[in-house]
Every structure is written in C-alpha cells, then in structure tokens.
C-alpha cells in the first residue's frame, strides 16, 4: 500500500494507508501569484464546507532559523542546503500535512518538493540523488503549476518588491555580476526544469499570465471536478 502513496521509499515506520484528506499543491516561481490563489481557494473551499490547512515551505520551526541565518552570509554548501530544505519539508509533511490529511482536511500546499528540486537541479544537483531523497514525499492528489514567462516574472517582481532579490535572481550561480541579467538567465533555466517536471509528475499547467480572477476560476473548475468524483 505504502508504495502507491509515496514517490519513493516513503515513511516505512508509519505504515500509512490511503488518507481521507486531499493534498492540493500550487507550484510556481516567486511572484507567480501562488499565495493570492491559495488564499482565494481557501475562502472558497471553506465556504463550500471543507476544512482547509494551508502550508508552505520554510515555515517549519525546526531549522527555519538555520536557513535564514546561513543565507544571510551565503555560507552553506549545496548539499547542506538541499538537506536542510528537505529536513524542513519532512518536518512539515509529518507534523502538519499528514495529520491534517488523516483528519480529512483539504491541504493547500504553497509549493512542494518540486520547487526544492528545480532550484537544486539548476544548481547542478544529481537528479537521481534528489528524487530518491524526496522519496518520502506523499504523492499529491493535484499539482497546479502556475506557468509564467521570465519576462512577466521580472515585471511582477519589480511591482511587488521594487527591486530584485539576490537568491531569487540566482546570483549564487555566478552567471553574471549584473543582477538583472542573472535574473533572466536563472528564471529561464528554472522554467525549463519546471516544464520538464510538469510532464513527469502530471502537473496541471495553468497560464499564470492571466488575471488573478481568471486563474482562480480555472483552478476552481479543476478542483470541483476532482472533489465531485468521489
């Protein structure tokens, strides 16, 4: 039973069976509109009578501070950073997502292992290593991918923050000392990784160039069909 629930070796000591809740993931780059969509989905689902847990990456108390501190000084090796992120993800999976799913909640995950993998793939991580590492991740019921061009992303980043961020521009990859150039290169590469995963992991690709309202109605339509199936 375990094998059908997880991408890989799973969590053998839990001996889980199919959980009553639903795990819905929203993936996409920073500024692709994920959190707006999730908060609208939560409103809608709760109005419809579903208990909802929304959760995101980097919210765990376990090592959240370590990542934050280390990123300030740019002092972590690649493997160390991958492992810290996976620790954080495992913590949320086991202590938040799985309990909520067991209780029958709809869990809305603001990013999942795919963002973590895409970031590391771009940084040259071994695909084999990372996929096996994240083999403890539950297979979500649905994965929405907010697909957006690097060009649009650039403008949204400016309108949201007024400037570009060191990490979100992939400056650690040393493509260019110019953050503007680096941002473009980085997001072209990231998008390539997401697109590749879209096929492999059956993402539902959503055109995120549309208005938030249109995107929301696209996503709701798919979720409605899925929830009505049972």
């Amino acid at each position: 039973m375990n094998n059908e629930l997880f991408y890989g070796k799973g969590l053998p000591y839990l001996q889980l069976n199919k959980l009553p809740g639903k795990l819905i993931v929203i993936e996409g780059a920073d500024c692709s509109g994920r959190s707006t969509q999730i908060s609208m989905l939560k409103d809608w689902l709760e109005t419809e009578g579903h208990a909802v847990l929304d959760t995101g990456l980097k919210r765990s108390t376990l090592i959240g501070n370590v990542i934050f501190e280390a990123k300030k000084g740019n002092i972590l090796g690649k493997k160390t950073l991958s492992l810290l992120y996976s620790t954080d993800f495992a913590d949320q999976l086991e202590n938040k997502i799985i309990p909520a799913l067991s209780a029958g909640f709809v869990v809305l995950a603001d990013r999942y292992i795919f963002t973590l993998m895409a970031r590391d793939f771009v940084r040259g991580a071994s695909k084999e290593w990372l996929m096996e590492l994240f083999g403890f991740a539950l297979i979500p019921d649905m994965v929405f991918y907010l697909s957006i061009s690097p060009e649009t992303l650039l403008h949204r980043t400016f309108s949201k923050y007024g400037c570009l961020d060191y990490w979100e521009s992939g400056m650690d990859l040393c493509f260019s000392s110019d953050m503007f150039e680096s941002f473009k290169k980085y997001h072209i590469l990231l998008k390539k990784e997401y697109d590749e995963m879209a096929n492999k992991y059956n993402f539902i690709v959503i055109d995120a160039e549309k208005s938030p309202k249109e995107i929301q109605s696209d996503i709701r339509a798919k979720i409605k069909v899925f929830l009505d199936q049972k």
Binding site: L84, A90, W129
Partner: protein
C-alpha cells in the same frame, strides 16, 4: 595485510579523482572506546609531524544548536532526525572534510556515515533511502569498527552515568519506559546493524574487548601501512624554513 575497501563509483561523484589526503574513521557503539582510540591515533600522528584534522559527529557550528533544541522538544521523526544529522554532516563535509582531503591532509572522523546508517535504520528508515542521502561522500581509506560484546559497551556507558539522553537511549522508539532498558535494546539493534555492514562496507574490525594499549598498537600499525607513499603537505615546505 589490510584489505582496502573497493571504491564504488557512485560514492565518489564529487571526487572522481583520487584525493591526496587520507581519511580515517572510527565507528562503533557508545562505550566501545573508539573516541579514546582516535584521540591516541591523533596524538601519535601529530608527534610524527603530520598535520591532522579532526571532526566529530553532530558538531556543525551552524546546525548543532537546532538539532539539540529539536531533540529537547521531541519534535523529531525518524526522517527529520536522519535529515538533520545529514545536514550537520554535509556542512562539515563540504566545509572541512572534503577541502582538507583535497589539500592533502590527514582527516580523522569520530563517527562517519555508518553511524547514520545504523541509527537511522534502527529507527525504521529505509536502508536504500539512507544510503542515497549519503551517497555523495567519499569512502574512508580505513574505517575502524570497534566491536565489543554488547555487555562490555553497556557496562562502560552505564557505570557512573546517572542520566541517559532521551534519543541516546532510543526512548523515541518506545521500547521501554525505563531509559536503561530502552538503551540496552536500542544499542543491541545498532550493534546488529554495524555487524551486518562490516563486510559490505569493508570495515577493519578491532576487538574492543582488548586493552586500550593493545588496540592502539594494532590501529597504529594499520595506519602506518596505509600511509606508505603518502606525502604530507608539511613536507612541501622548504628545507630549513622556520615554522612552529
């Protein structure tokens, strides 16, 4: 003659070419005496003029505090327990062990990835999964496994110890509510995992029931043989130059 472990390609993904340094590791149950042995090995190598770096389990400046916080609060699952220790190890590996080996030094590790294998498997993690987590690291030149009958290592730890740490005693496994009882069961399982790995991982087994001196003599002679042809970076200094 010491049979060196065969080098498996996947183990060396980061380090395809042979590194000029030497990596010696001690492994074994709590109370097997391995820390004493590696300390004595270090003293000897240093007295012989080698530059030696030493690192121990769970000691990354960056991560160890979070780990100990998490342990106190009992927040850890077998998977997060495993991954936090892997993060700690990776941090030391990427920052210290690997660069030191590339620079040609002797690196001594008190516990290496086999500690993680034994403990994580004892906690119920999948064996292949754990091995993958650590598949980026270099296989040591020698892994000394200090093998002691369980009763001996238990006595060494339990004599004069009033308190066993929660995770050390494997209390999270819920074998028993009594820490001492739990520790015995947990150590037994860990020892079994070490014994099972010994062949496959090419451990050099040292009988840890012998006297400290007798063990150290064996360890030194094995290391001595392994160091044949090794050039310490300090030998590269100009003849006659002054150094401390």
């Amino acid at each position: 003659m010491i049979k060196l472990p065969a080098i498996n390609k996947r183990w060396c993904s980061d380090t395809n070419k042979a590194l000029p340094g030497k990596l010696y590791v001690v492994e074994g149950c709590d109370g097997s005496g391995k820390s004493t042995q590696i300390y004595l090995l270090k003293r000897w190598l240093e007295s012989e003029g080698f530059i030696v770096f030493f690192t121990e389990w769970n000691s990354s400046e960056l991560i160890k505090e979070s780990t100990s916080e998490a342990k106190k609060k009992d927040l850890l699952t077998p998977t997060t327990f495993s991954l936090m220790h892997a993060s700690d190890f990776a941090d030391r590996y990427e920052k210290m062990i690997l660069p030191q080996l590339r620079a040609g030094y002797i690196v001594l590790c008190d516990r290496y990835i086999y500690t993680a294998f034994a403990r994580d498997m004892a906690r119920g993690c999948n064996r292949e999964w754990v091995k993958n987590v650590y598949s980026f690291v270099m296989k040591p030149d020698i892994t000394f496994y200090f093998q002691a009958p369980l009763q001996i290592s238990l006595n060494r730890i339990l004599t004069g110890r009033l308190h066993l740490e929660y995770h050390e005693a494997g209390m999270d496994m819920k074998f028993s509510n009594d820490p001492v009882e739990s520790f015995k069961i947990f150590q037994g399982i860990i020892k079994q995992h070490y014994d099972d790995m010994a062949d496959e991982e090419g451990f050099t087994i040292i009988d840890a029931a012998q006297s400290i001196k007798a063990q150290q003599t064996i360890v030194r002679s094995i290391v001595c043989k392994n160091l044949e042809g090794y050039a310490s970076p300090c030998k590269h200094w100009k003849e006659g130059s002054i150094y401390i």
